[in-house]
């Protein structure tokens, strides 16, 4: 005779099927959530991983170019390098030399919202070299020798960027040559 509260075989099966269904739904929901949100941040983190990996595969003493795709989203992200010559480095670098990818220019942005990788080079130099039309600066300078502007960090807007990588025994140099009219 079944007493109230007894779990019958039918009830048990129903419970098992319900639990399996809920587990599958939660699993699918978590997977979709992880893919669907935080895409910009994920892309930034992945890009730093790719750049770090590609740099490690570059031979020393050989000038190599690598092509990377910038990050689509609300921010223009920057690739920056910090060595001991910098007064203010992101705390994430833990007083070591590092390369970082950050949603804005500056070590504060790298510290708060960026991602950094420690690197084993004494000198880390990441720069953008912009060609400037000599006609535009002749009024500012007496001669026209100066034709380039150099800025630290490389912006990574949502387009392809070709970066020149040069590795030495204790140095890492990454340059982006901006051919658009500065």
């Amino acid at each position: 005779m079944n007493k109230n509260g007894d779990v019958t075989i039918t009830n048990f099966l129903t419970i098992v099927i319900a639990v399996v269904g809920i587990v599958l739904l939660v699993f699918a929901g978590v997977r979709i959530y992880n893919i669907a949100v935080h895409q910009e941040t994920e892309d930034a983190k992945n890009l730093l991983n790719v750049i770090d990996e590609k740099i490690s595969l570059v031979d020393e003493g050989v000038n190599t170019s690598i092509t990377v795709q910038g990050i689509s989203g609300d921010n223009i992200w920057y690739l920056c390098g910090y060595d001991k010559s910098w007064d203010s480095r992101p705390g994430k670098c833990l007083l070591e030399n590092c390369i970082c990818i950050c949603p804005n220019w500056g070590s504060e942005s790298c510290q708060e919202e960026g991602f950094c990788r420690m690197v084993n080079y004494d000198n880390v130099d990441i720069k953008t070299v912009t060609s400037i039309d000599q006609q535009r600066i002749v009024a500012l300078y007496e001669d026209d020798r100066y034709f380039e502007s150099v800025s630290f960090c490389v912006p990574l807007p949502p387009e392809l960027r070709e970066l020149e990588v040069e590795k030495g025994e204790d140095s890492l140099k990454i340059m982006y040559y901006d051919e658009t009219d500065g």
């Binding site: 075989i9 099966l13 893919i35 669907a36 895409q39 092509t67 910038g70 689509s72 609300d74 387009e159």
Partner: protein
């Protein structure tokens, strides 16, 4: 008389059904590539979500499309020159038989182009409505998605690569089980068969001798072949139908045009060309003559497109032009046809 604890036949059937059902679901998860399929489905869903969002908010709706990376190899190489350091690279070993290898390269390339077109809504969804204005910029250039990158490992012989003719493959082979050739599928149906094939030589001459002052087919630089044996299938779109006027001008002896869709013919001479959408019309970037088997692979101009009404959230219809095309994967080439790139690399 039923004793306590005895199972009835009904309960046994229920139990067996529950166990079998669980095993079926488990096997589905283990056997099917949900990772790959879910990425495609998520991309399509995000395309639809963005297209039906208000124009002002379109740029805020993320496009969840990740570039596929495909390495075609002889089994020894891994396309390190192209994909070193990158994740989720699909390696496909080519058959030892040369003809089969050629066929496989053609099939994979044609599928990559077609999948790109399908995933992005076949050009019929407006995807980049307010990108520039939302950033306070006045100009408007094509938005792009790099759907896939196909690389051929250095170890694959030139004798295989120089036989690849993707354009011919698309004209003569069906897409999956659709019953349509790739050409017909791009054109939107069987009606394609009724349109005259172009005189490729005439079209080639027309493109190469275009009058720049008309901004009809102004050349805008060159397409560079890279040394990494890699092409990208890129979807680009602009919210202007000016390019369509150029397309229609060409249809008399140029592009294959069906309704509002078009597809490039087979160009002669192994010179790669890319179509550039701009507000004034359509421009063409031209490559140099292919000098080797691998460059002949790049020399196959592949482009298909649609110009006309695009679906948005507005009550009034919007117009736009979209193209999916193959282009050698370099920063210079892709940036030439794209004002900005959306999606994940």
């Amino acid at each position: 008389m039923d004793k306590r604890g005895e199972l009835t036949s009904h309960q046994i059937v229920l139990l067996v059904l529950a166990i079998v059902g669980f095993l079926v679901v488990l096997s589905i998860f283990l056997v099917f590539d949900f990772e790959g399929k879910s990425s495609d489905e998520i991309c399509k869903l995000s395309v639809l979500t963005r297209a039906t969002s208000h124009d002002t908010f379109q740029s805020s709706v993320p496009l969840k499309c990740t570039t596929k990376k495909i390495c075609l190899t002889d089994g020894k190489g891994d396309c390190a020159e192209s994909f070193a350091g990158e994740k989720d690279v699909e390696e496909i070993k080519l058959p030892n038989n040369e003809l089969e290898a050629v066929n496989l390269i053609e099939e994979i390339s044609a599928d990559a182009m077609y999948d790109c077109w399908k995933m992005t809504g076949e050009g019929r969804y407006g995807l980049f409505g307010d990108f520039w204005n939302s950033r306070g910029l006045g100009y408007n250039e094509p938005g792009c998605v790099v759907c896939s990158r196909v690389a051929i490992d250095n170890g694959v012989g030139d004798s295989i690569v120089e036989k690849v003719d993707i354009r011919e493959y698309m004209a003569n082979n069906e897409v999956g089980n659709t019953g349509l050739t790739y050409d017909e599928a791009f054109a939107g149906g069987k009606d394609f068969a009724g349109y005259t094939r172009v005189n490729a030589e005439t079209f080639t001459n027309k493109i190469d001798n275009a009058d720049n002052s008309n901004k009809l087919l102004g050349k805008q630089g060159t397409i560079d072949y890279n040394n990494k044996h890699e092409i990208a299938f890129v979807f680009s779109q602009i919210d202007s139908v000016e390019p369509w006027n150029a397309v229609r001008e060409l249809s008399e002896d140029g592009l294959i045009v069906v309704g509002a869709s078009f597809i490039t013919p087979k160009f002669l001479g192994g010179i790669s060309r890319a179509l550039l959408l701009n507000k004034a019309g359509l421009a063409v970037a031209v490559g140099v003559l292919a000098s080797s088997g691998i460059n002949a692979y790049y020399g196959q101009t592949l482009a298909a497109g649609y110009c006309g009404n695009v679906a948005t959230n507005y009550e009034e219809s919007k117009e736009g032009c979209s193209i999916v095309q193959a282009v050698p994967y370099t920063a210079e080439n892709v940036n030439k046809i794209c004002g900005f790139i959306d999606g994940s690399p």
